[in-house]
Each structure stands twice: as structure tokens, then as C-alpha cells.
């Protein structure tokens, strides 16, 4: 019996070794040697004729032989498969099948980037109306009627009985929000604004701003610097240099403009300041009990700097060759 098994193994391994690497041929060999009616099954059947004391040893031997043959077969089948697969190769340089993802407009993208930075600092995104009144666009913000401080805010007026206008900045949302909410809070306000400017590469009669406002019992000018420096570093990179210059806005005091180092010079990117106590008084807050920081920036300007865009009009032409770059 042992000899028979030995011969079986030699014969099988030899034939498998000589076989062509064809999966069909190898399957025939598997059936011949290991199949239900194969040679090994026949040998196994003969075991019953052996003396019982020999059976465990022979049984073990049969299993070993079976494993050896099966392993040889499997190895040969795998290498056969590999040979076959390598014959029928795809042109892997053909394009992948996919849906081109659409793109968020670079202005929306910039607004999201800005808002995300301030959200991380605890600011909440709030919006306000684009059609405004003189009351909110000017008066509550300490910009009196017929005052030279209005010169900075050329404004579109609407044909109507009452004096409606298109907001010329996002700051009216400050006083609208304060009238309805009690401090402490911090909000960030993105939105469209409108100014009657002749359109050219750097002017547009419609553009976007993001306004920020934080009010509490202990907000300081140093907090304004801290918050805005974090913003600048996150937006433009850790190595960006900034500086704060004194400036004038009717609704903040002290007021500042923040510049970033750009090439050899400095570029203004936002206006900011401590909320003017008069603005607090206008919304019914006690200026003795609260202080606040406020800032506002032009989104187009920041997007143009960040992406290296030279003409503001491109944002509104919506040429997809432009949009798909972002």
C-alpha cells in the first residue's frame, strides 16, 4: 500500500509538472488524481482491506500525499492563471470613467474659507437683507446724513416712496443683529454689497464682504489684533507679515486697517476697530458695560490676492474655463 501511494505521488507530480499551463488541462488532471472517482479515491477504498492496526499510519500517509498533489496542482493553476491574464491586457492608458465634479465659485469658496476660520474661533454665521434703509445702512452706524463720512459709501438708491437702498456694506447686519440679541456673542456675516462704481479691472458695482462682530463685557483692542492675525495666518500662511494702521470709520473707535506684506510693499486687506460706543447706544446697549470688536473685508480682494487673479470682472463672467480652475 505504501508503495502504491508512493508511486501515485511520483506519477501525479510528474504529470502535473509536465502539463501545459492550461487551466482546463489541469482541471482534467485534478479529476484524474483527486476527483471523486479519481485514483486516490480508489486507493483509499482499499484501506478497508488492511489490518486495523495499520490503518492510522496509512490514513496519515494518504492525507500527506493528497496535500502534496493538491498543492502542486494549485501552484500550477495559479501560474497558469497568471500566464493567461498577462496575455489579455487592458490599455491602461485609456481614460478612467468618471463624472467631473462641479466647482464651487471662487467667491463662495473664499467666503467659506473665511467663515470657517472664524467659526473655529467661536463666531456664528449670520446673514442680512441686501435691500436696506438709510437707518441701518448709515444712521445706526453713526454715519450722519449729509456728512463727509458718507463719501466713502456711494450708494444705490431704489425708486420708491421711502428711502430704500442697496446696502453699500455688510455693517448694517451688525446693528440689526444687536437689536435682536443680547451680548455676549460673536458673529460673522458674509454677503453681497453694492456701490455705484464704474466697472474696471479693480472695481465692480456688486461685490462681497465679510463682516465680523464680537461683543462682550471684556473685549479689547488686543483681542482684535489677535483674532485678525490668526485669520491672516490661516488664510495666507503662517509666514505672512501683517501690520495695523490707525484709520477712521464712523462705527468703530479706535479704528484700524490691516495690511499684509505683499512683495515689496503692503496691501490693505481689511478695516477694523472697536465698536464705537455711539453704535452701542443706538441699539440700546449700555456703552459703559460692553465693548466689542468689529471688522470687515472685501472677499473679491482676498480671492484675487490668494489666487493671483488680476481682473475682478472675471468673477461675474462665469467663464467655466475660469471657474473650473478652483
Amino acid at each position: 500500500m505504501k508503495d502504491a501511494l508512493k508511486r501515485f505521488e511520483e506519477e501525479a507530480l510528474k504529470e502535473i509538472g509536465l502539463s501545459l499551463p492550461n487551466r482546463d488541462l489541469l482541471e482534467t488532471l485534478r479529476i484524474k488524481y483527486l476527483g471523486r472517482k479519481g485514483i486516490l479515491t480508489e486507493l483509499f477504498k482499499k484501506m478497508s482491506s488492511l489490518p486495523p492496526e495499520d490503518r492510522p499510519e496509512i490514513g496519515k500517509l494518504i492525507n500527506i500525499v493528497k496535500e502534496n498533489v493538491a498543492r502542486a496542482l494549485n501552484d500550477k493553476i495559479k501560474s497558469a492563471a497568471a500566464t493567461e491574464e498577462s496575455k489579455d491586457r487592458l490599455d491602461i492608458t485609456l481614460p478612467g470613467i468618471s463624472q467631473r465634479p462641479g466647482k464651487i465659485h471662487p467667491i463662495t469658496r473664499t467666503i467659506s474659507d473665511i467663515c470657517r476660520i472664524f467659526s473655529g474661533l467661536g463666531f456664528r454665521v449670520v446673514e442680512g437683507p441686501e435691500i436696506e434703509t438709510e437707518h441701518y445702512n448709515f444712521e445706526t452706524l453713526n454715519i450722519p446724513l449729509e456728512h463727509p463720512s458718507r463719501d466713502a459709501f456711494d450708494t444705490f438708491y431704489l425708486k420708491s416712496e421711502e428711502k430704500f437702498l442697496l446696502r453699500s456694506h455688510t455693517s448694517p447686519v451688525q446693528t440689526r443683529f444687536m437689536e435682536k440679541n443680547k451680548p455676549p456673542f460673536s458673529i460673522i456675516v458674509p454677503g453681497k454689497v453694492f456701490r455705484p462704481d464704474a466697472t474696471d479691472a479693480s472695481h465692480s458695482f456688486m461685490f462681497h464682504q465679510v463682516e465680523g462682530l464680537a461683543v462682550g463685557s471684556d473685549i479689547k483692542f488686543s483681542d482684535l489684533k489677535g483674532v485678525l492675525n490668526i485669520f491672516a495666518k490661516t488664510m495666507f500662511g503662517n509666514s505672512i507679515q501683517t501690520r495695523f494702521r490707525p484709520s477712521f470709520f464712523p462705527f468703530t473707535e479706535p479704528s484700524a486697517e490691516m495690511d499684509i506684506r505683499w512683495g515689496k510693499g503692503w496691501l490693505e486687506i481689511l478695516g477694523a476697530g472697536m465698536v464705537n460706543p455711539k453704535v452701542f447706544a443706538n441699539v440700546g446697549y449700555d456703552p459703559k458695560k460692553v465693548t466689542g470688536l468689529a471688522f470687515g473685508m472685501g472677499v473679491e480682494r482676498i480671492a484675487m490676492l490668494k489666487y493671483g487673479i488680476g481682473d475682478i470682472r472675471m468673477f461675474f463672467e462665469n467663464d467655466v474655463r475660469f471657474l473650473r480652475q478652483f
Partner: protein
């Protein structure tokens, strides 16, 4: 305003180079916009904020530099004027003290009008003005030096020897020095003699009394006028001038006598003559209230400790005088040239400005923790953007202001249009009432640039006048498709109504909007062959369809365009972004396909609703998986394949149960629609 570097040195001993000076001024809030070097001289273009009229003069700028550098401000001394008083030479009357708080008139006789000397000419020209003659140049020189605008009249041409400061009568006319005849509205502040206006007060003098080569005697006016009145006049006449610019920002009452005396002294020096009279009516100085500064407040607002001595030094260097002082606070009197300093916060700003913003540290505010959740509509807008870009659509942003023509072409009723009163051009004359105009403009822009695969969307406000004439802003979503769809799986194909509908369906489904249906619409911008209104429950929330030929022609578009506009505000109440887990089915589903041939007129919706009604409780889903017309299918017919999913949630379905229901479905399709099984 321009600042001539060498001229500035007359008032302050500047050791800094023009570049360093520009940097110093910019960092203290007086922005130097540009600097033009001229050898060792330079012109600095400064941008003066509206709160600082005192900076509109050389002396004012020099005072700032004095505070910044510790150098001494040098105000020119006036040599004694040669006087020989003549009584009753002129008579000055102010009708409204509020409009003219102070008026001074100085008569100088026997002068000789000549060309200005070179030094004066070059200074006047450095300021961007043309030299006129010695007297006019001196008034301009003193305007820039002191900030007080002055005007010289030819005394002999003032009728009746009178100056009356009054408001104009309706229809009064004056020809100003620039040669333009102007008809005045009623109420414009003018300087008049006894018969006519001789100057638009504070804005521009009259031609008939101007100083010419033959002038012998002059009346030199130095005054203060009401800022609002001057501003209004200058705007109405479209006549901004160096004078009006300063008067509308408010001049310092106390500075008037100095400026007048200074100009007079210069005139007598360069043009000869003697002073014959000086009349001075009105308030001699500002009545600025004292302002108190508490050191504790200073430091708590700024977040930095500025030593009391330092703050005191800064503010006194700026011209403020200490009235009283203690350990905790100082009370200052405010000079006339700093009427902008009214409250403690104004002093805090001055201290911070000169101390240097760069010396204030960065800190992070202790913000109150508040639920930082955005409002519903902001979250939804972000959600929609993510979804649509995921489906391959590009976001556009178009102008909210358009020409009325475009707005009418995109289907608005004229009475709903919100119009702009003061547009700069016809392109900005009205507010969009829908997003279609902007979308079609963007599509034609891209078609003209040969882009073939356009799938665009915009999220933005529309603006309408409602029935009561009230302005309403609503957030809308527009989607436009044109040209080809090319995803690379097969050749490019034309985009279709169903590409657009698919986007809308996925969008609404992901927003959790229930009970969405598409029904007929009469929207005139869309083609009758392919248009639908979109409904959520009973609410109409938008439209979709193929843009009509007529509208496309208006926008010069030749290709098919598919367009949808959804009112986001009206779907807000249908949106449900809350998720809840639903138990997965425990028993397997059985899928059965039905392929039938029916007449083309029968709608998919009718077939599905019939299948659903016959499918009993075990039918869980039915969908169209294939639609075919062509070979083997008779004309006028169509082959449809539906896949039905059967499941029982309580047990494994048996074949005969499915068979029973499925045969019911088939039979009713045959009976109701004459469907033939394939």
C-alpha cells in the same frame, strides 16, 4: 492733498527722509498714498480721513509730526500790519449766524497786482494749481498753510460797499470764476453786495468781482460756513473745490483771524498797499467741551498698559491742554482744531495711535460659548452647493442688477421690477426678478467660447415689488444645462430634459422633501413641449423645462437649453435633514421584471401608479429599468421594462405568493392599458 516735503520743513525740523516720513505718517493714521521724489524734494499724496480736517493743512500735518517726533512746531510769526483805519469803508451783515458763525473782512488798498515771485509760483504749482497772480496765489498759499480757505474780492466792483451773507432767492444767477453761469436754487448760502450775489459762499467766487490785473483795492474774506450747507451746495452745483472740501469738514473758528492776518501780511509784502479796515463778526472760537480720560479705561479698552505719563505726553503734544489731573484720570480742554475729540474713546484712540498699534499685543478674546449652529437656510445653502457640485454642476455668481431689457426678456412683469434711482449705466438700472437672465447670459458667454458641456447653477437672491409695492427678497436656485453630457463611459450625448429632472429629483430627495410631483405648467419662458412645475405637497416650489425658442432667440442662443428655477425660501418648510435609522429588512426580497409593449401616449406615472395599486403589501418598490422603441416594436408603441421588488417583512416570501400578486399586476396592465407582454 499733496504735501511738498521742503515746504513742510518751514514748519517743523524734519530730519527723516521723505520715505521714512511717509512711513511714520502712514503708521499714525495719515495715509501717504504715493510719494514722488524730485531730487532732494518730494511730493507726498496724503489721504485725509473725514474726521481730521486739521490735516488738510501744512501746519496741521506738521503738528502731527511734532507729536510723533518730539520736535517743535514752528508757526510763522506775523509782522505787524501797516494800518490806516478808514471808518465806514465797508459794511458787513450776516443774516443767519447758524450758516455763518464767523465772518472777517479785511480791506487792503493800493496794492499792485503782479505775477508771483518764483518761490511762490513753484509752491502753488507743486500743489497742482496754476499760478494766477500774487494776491490769488497768496490766498491759496495760506489755504494750504493754515487750512482756512480765503477769498479776495475786487473792492471797487462790490456795489454799495456792502457784504451781505445771505441765502439766495429763487432764480438768482451768478457767473463763477470758472466762467460758468449758474442759476441758484432758493436757500443757497451766498456772499452778496447790495445788488447781487458775488460769491457762492465757501465754494467759489464770482467772476464779476474777481481780482484782475487792474485791481487796486481788495476785500479779503476769511470766514466759517455751515458744513452741511456748503456740502449740499457743492453737490447740487457739481462744484467741489479746495474751499468747499475744507468748509464741509468744518474749519477752526480761532484759526480764521490768524489766517487772515497772515495772508494780509504776505499781500502787503508782495503787492504793497495798506490795511484800511478789519471787520470781524461772530464767534471767535469753538466751544469744545472738556473731555476726561480714565487710565483704567484706556488700558482695558486697548489691552495694554500705557503709562499715565506717556498718555499725558502724547495728548498734550497733540495740542490738548490739561485742566485737572489726578492719579486715575486727567481732564483735557480740546483745541478748536480738534473738534473731533468729543468723548473719552476719542482720546483713547489718540493715545493708541501715537503710542503705536504695533506695541499692542495679540490676545484671544474669552468668547462666550454659544451654540454655534448656523440658521436653517445657511445650512441648506451649503448642503445644496455640495450636492450639486457632486453631481458635476459648476457654481456661477451673476449680477443682481441688470438692464431692464434683460429682466423683461427673462420673463418679468414690468410692475414687479425694483428699479434703481441712480444707476451709473443702463446695465445696472434694475434688480433681477429671477435668475434666468444671469444664467442665460453665462450660457451664451460660454457657448461663444466653444465650451460644450455646460451644467451650471446659481444660488442667490431675487428682488420683487409685491402687490402692495413692498420690496421682497427671496433666495432662489437656478440650474442651466446646455450642450453635451460627457462622462467618458460612452461617446458624448446631448443633454436632455431628463438630465435636469434627475438633478432636481436627487436634490429634493436628499433634502428630505416628501411628496414631490411634476405637473404641467404654463411658464412662458419654457417650451410647451417640455416643461413642468415642481411641487412639494400642495406647494409649487419651482419650474423646469426646455427654454422656449423665443427666449433663446432673445439671448442669441442657438442650442437647446434646459433650465430650472426653485424658490429655496418656499422649500425650507419641506426640507428635513434630520436622519433616523430604519431597521434593515430581515427577509430577502424577490425581484421580478415585467417587459410590456404599450401605446406611446401612456405615461410612466400612470403605469407605476397602477402597478403600485395592484402590488398589495408585498410590493416594496417598482422602477423603470429600460425603455425602447425601434426594431421589433411596432410604430406608435414602446417597450417598457419595470423591475418590481417584493418582500414580506415578517417572513420569507413563498414563490406562489409572489406569483399571485405578480399575475394580478400583469392582468391589470393588459386590461387597463392594453399592454402586451414581451
Amino acid at each position: 492733498m499733496k504735501i511738498n516735503y521742503n515746504w513742510l520743513k518751514d514748519y517743523i525740523d524734519v530730519k527723516l527722509s521723505p520715505e521714512k516720513l511717509a512711513e511714520l505718517l502712514t503708521m499714525s493714521g495719515l495715509t501717504v498714498d504715493s510719494l514722488e521724489r524730485k531730487g532732494d524734494d518730494a511730493i507726498l499724496e496724503i489721504e485725509v480721513t473725514s474726521n481730521r480736517p486739521d490735516w488738510l493743512s501744512y501746519i496741521g500735518v506738521a503738528r502731527e509730526i511734532a507729536a510723533l517726533t518730539g520736535k517743535i512746531l514752528k508757526i510763522p510769526l506775523i509782522t505787524a500790519n501797516r494800518k490806516s483805519e478808514t471808518k465806514n469803508l465797508i459794511n458787513v451783515k450776516i443774516e443767519d449766524k447758524k450758516l455763518c458763525p464767523r465772518y472777517t473782512a479785511r480791506v487792503i488798498s493800493n496794492i499792485k497786482i503782479e505775477e508771483s515771485p518764483e518761490w511762490l509760483k513753484s509752491r502753488i504749482e507743486a500743489m497742482g494749481l496754476k499760478s494766477v497772480n500774487n494776491v490769488v496765489d497768496i490766498t491759496n498759499f495760506c489755504l494750504f498753510e493754515t487750512g482756512e480757505p480765503m477769498h479776495a474780492f475786487d473792492l471797487d466792483r462790490l456795489s454799495g460797499g456792502k457784504i451781505i451773507v445771505r441765502t439766495s432767492r429763487k432764480g438768482e444767477r451768478i457767473t463763477t470764476i470758472d466762467g460758468v453761469e449758474r442759476t441758484l436754487e432758493e436757500g443757497v448760502l451766498v456772499i452778496a453786495d447790495d445788488s447781487r450775489p458775488v460769491a457762492v459762499a465757501g465754494v467759489m467766487g464770482g467772476l464779476n468781482t474777481e481780482v484782475t490785473a487792474s485791481t487796486k483795492n481788495i476785500l479779503l474774506e476769511a470766514a466759517a460756513f455751515d458744513p452741511i450747507s456748503i456740502r449740499r451746495t457743492s453737490r447740487v452745483l457739481g462744484l467741489p473745490s479746495e474751499s468747499s472740501y475744507r468748509f464741509e469738514r468744518k474749519v477752526d473758528l480761532a484759526n480764521i483771524s490768524y489766517a487772515s492776518a497772515r495772508a494780509s501780511a504776505m499781500i502787503m509784502e508782495l503787492a504793497g498797499g495798506q490795511e484800511k479796515a478789519f471787520i470781524d463778526i461772530g464767534s471767535k472760537q469753538e466751544k469744545n467741551k472738556p473731555v476726561e480720560l480714565r487710565f483704567s479705561r484706556l488700558n482695558s479698552v486697548l489691552g495694554v498698559e500705557i503709562p499715565a505719563q506717556k498718555a499725558k505726553k502724547i495728548l498734550t503734544a497733540l495740542g490738548l491742554k490739561i485742566i485737572s489731573s489726578s492719579k486715575d484720570k486727567i481732564k483735557f480742554s480740546i483745541p478748536g482744531f480738534r473738534s473731533d475729540l468729543k468723548n473719552e474713546i476719542d482720546l483713547i484712540e489718540e493715545a493708541a495711535r501715537i503710542y503705536g498699534y504695533d506695541k499692542i499685543p495679540d490676545t484671544i478674546p474669552g468668547m462666550a460659548a454659544s451654540p454655534a449652529r448656523e440658521s436653517h437656510d445657511i445650512t441648506i445653502a451649503q448642503f445644496i452647493r455640495a450636492l450639486l457640485t457632486g453631481m458635476g454642476l459648476d457654481e456661477i455668481i451673476t449680477y443682481s442688477l441688470l438692464s431692464k431689457d434683460i429682466i423683461l426678456k427673462s420673463g418679468s412683469l414690468p410692475e414687479a421690477i425694483v428699479e434703481v434711482k441712480n444707476p451709473l449705466s443702463g446695465e445696472q438700472e434694475a434688480m433681477r426678478v429671477n435668475l434666468a437672465g444671469g444664467m442665460l447670459n453665462s450660457i451664451i458667454w460660454n457657448i461663444n467660447r466653444k465650451t460644450k458641456d455646460l451644467k451650471l447653477f446659481e444660488l442667490g437672491n431675487i428682488y420683487i415689488k409685491d402687490g402692495d409695492g413692498k420690496f421682497v427678497e427671496r433666495k432662489h436656485l437656478s440650474i442651466g444645462m446646455a450642450g453635451e453630457i460627457a462622462d467618458g463611459s460612452s461617446g458624448p450625448r446631448k443633454s436632455s430634459f431628463f438630465d435636469l429632472k434627475g438633478v432636481i429629483q436627487v436634490l429634493l430627495s436628499e433634502l428630505g422633501v416628501k411628496d414631490v410631483s411634476f405637473t404641467d405648467t404654463g411658464d412662458g419662458n419654457l417650451s410647451p413641449s417640455a416643461r413642468a412645475s415642481i411641487n412639494a405637497g400642495q406647494d409649487n416650489i419651482g419650474v423646469l423645462g426646455e427654454v422656449s425658442r423665443r427666449t433663446l432667440t432673445d439671448f442669441d442662443i442657438k442650442e437647446n437649453v434646459y433650465y430650472s428655477e426653485v424658490d429655496i425660501d418656499s422649500i425650507l418648510k419641506h426640507v428635513n435633514l434630520e436622519k433616523r435609522f430604519m431597521e434593515l429588512p430581515r427577509y430577502p426580497s424577490v425581484f421580478r421584471d415585467i417587459s410590456i409593449v404599450v401605446n406611446k401616449g401612456i405615461s410612466n406615472a400612470d403605469i407605476i401608479s397602477l402597478i403600485e395599486s395592484k402590488g398589495a403589501t408585498i410590493l416594496k418598490d417598482v422602477r423603470l429599468v429600460d425603455r425602447y422603441a425601434g426594431k421589433q416594436i411596432p410604430d406608435g408603441k414602446i417597450s417598457l421594462t419595470y423591475r418590481l421588488e417584493y418582500r414580506d417583512n415578517a417572513k420569507t416570501l413563498e414563490d406562489k405568493e409572489v406569483l399571485g400578486v405578480h399575475s394580478d399586476v400583469l392582468r391589470s396592465l393588459e386590461e387597463k392599458f392594453g399592454a402586451k407582454l414581451r
